[in-house]
Point group: C2
Chain length 207, copies 2
DNA sequence: CGACGGCTTGACGCTAATCAATATACGTGG
DNA sequence: CCACGTATATTGATTAGCGTCAAGCCGTCG
């Protein structure tokens, strides 16, 4: 993996790594910081499709498509590993195992997409937010950062867009979780107080 | 492509091709008929993730995952081309071009997934149904069957599940389209009378 | 012909969107 | 460093849209 990294770069909050439609030039891995991926429909409708954190690899679908299908913007100052397309092509040609790794990453994308599908198709507002928090918590835990404190870098509006809601609804759901003792929240700092409670909420029959 | 097909089989309406979790054994291509793909969450929640028609290749994500992530059930008697896993592996090892084709199919899956994401996240009921009809129409047209008559093989319930709605809402939307002169509908036979009208509906600002 | 599953339509209620008013945090320039 | 202006967040009031419950119809299949 390390031989793929040509260099690491620092980028500022709000910078755009690439836009939907851009030819595939680099794969990025986040060393520190976080990003959002957003798709924009022809009519201006937009939706946040992903929230990327430390350790995530960004832009994998472009390896095969040849172009990016989403725009990625940093949510804070970031440090990124840059893996140029040529190196990736070269290695995947040489190493069948690496080719399989790439396919694995792609497949994970698909499976992840299915999860989101269920969420948007069947869950109600509070369930979506609870699922979002638990997913984020789990991803941080997998990186070894098993603190119950999260710092959200996205605005309420971005979280809302990601969950198919409005920012007011997200805000209200946060407040409700807080007053129910499920979380502690102050601005963008969230502390999960009762993971099981949140899990129960997600699994509750919606109807 | 043809050398991949080991045989063609006929299956009856309601048969299951494979279940979520099954090891990848075959890729299927639909010669005639149609199928639905469904995922089931641990708590029994289910969602139709795809509606496959003539010409579609089914189960691509399993090539890389090694197992299927959805259950596929036929909606009518079908004739299917069966492409065994070994042949696919063998050819993709031998032929880099084919490997790329496979990746292309996967990438299409991802892009298609993004479209659904926007639909479930941002559209209201009638927009979702209109988008569904237009998509289906376009897919049939691409197969050369450019008639404006569609025969839906899914029940209202299945369509509803696919769109993240209830069957009553789907039924009402159909009725509304009919009385607005956008479509003609009788049971599962749909005729698109005003594609532009439907398109305008999809692109209407929801707020 | 009867029974059953699927479809339509109506009445009603709940959830989340919308509109609106503050409150808070944040960034910028003086 | 403070003051101001602007983005973000919270909360309330109201409403639209869709889900739920229920009744009746249609079409199919045994």
């Amino acid at each position: 993996m390390n031989e793929l990294v040509a260099r690491t770069v620092r980028v500022r909050k709000g910078d755009t790594l690439f836009r939907a439609g851009d030819a595939f030039a680099n794969l990025y891995a986040i060393r520190t910081g976080s990003c959002k991926a957003v798709i924009v429909a022809p009519d201006g409708q937009y939706q946040i499709t992903a929230y990327h954190i430390e350790g995530d690899v960004i832009g994998v679908e472009a390896v095969f498509l040849g172009a990016h299908d989403a725009t990625v913007v940093t949510l804070e100052d970031c440090e990124l590993s840059v893996m140029p397309a040529e190196r990736i092509d070269a290695l995947s040609r040489r190493d069948a195992g690496f080719q399989r790794d790439l396919n694995g990453l792609l497949s994970q994308l698909i499976v992840g997409g299915r999860k989101v599908l269920l969420m948007l198709g069947k869950m109600r507002a509070e369930q979506r937010l609870a699922a979002f928090l638990l997913d984020l918590d789990e991803r941080y835990a997998r990186r070894g950062q098993s603190s119950s404190d999260l710092v959200l870098r996205m605005t309420r509006q971005d979280i809302a867009s990601h969950l198919g809601l409005t920012h007011e609804t997200v805000s209200r759901a946060f407040s409700r979780f807080h007053q129910d003792g499920l979380i502690h929240i102050h601005g963008r700092e969230v502390q999960l107080l009762d993971r099981d409670g949140l899990r129960r909420l997600v699994e509750t029959e919606p109807q």
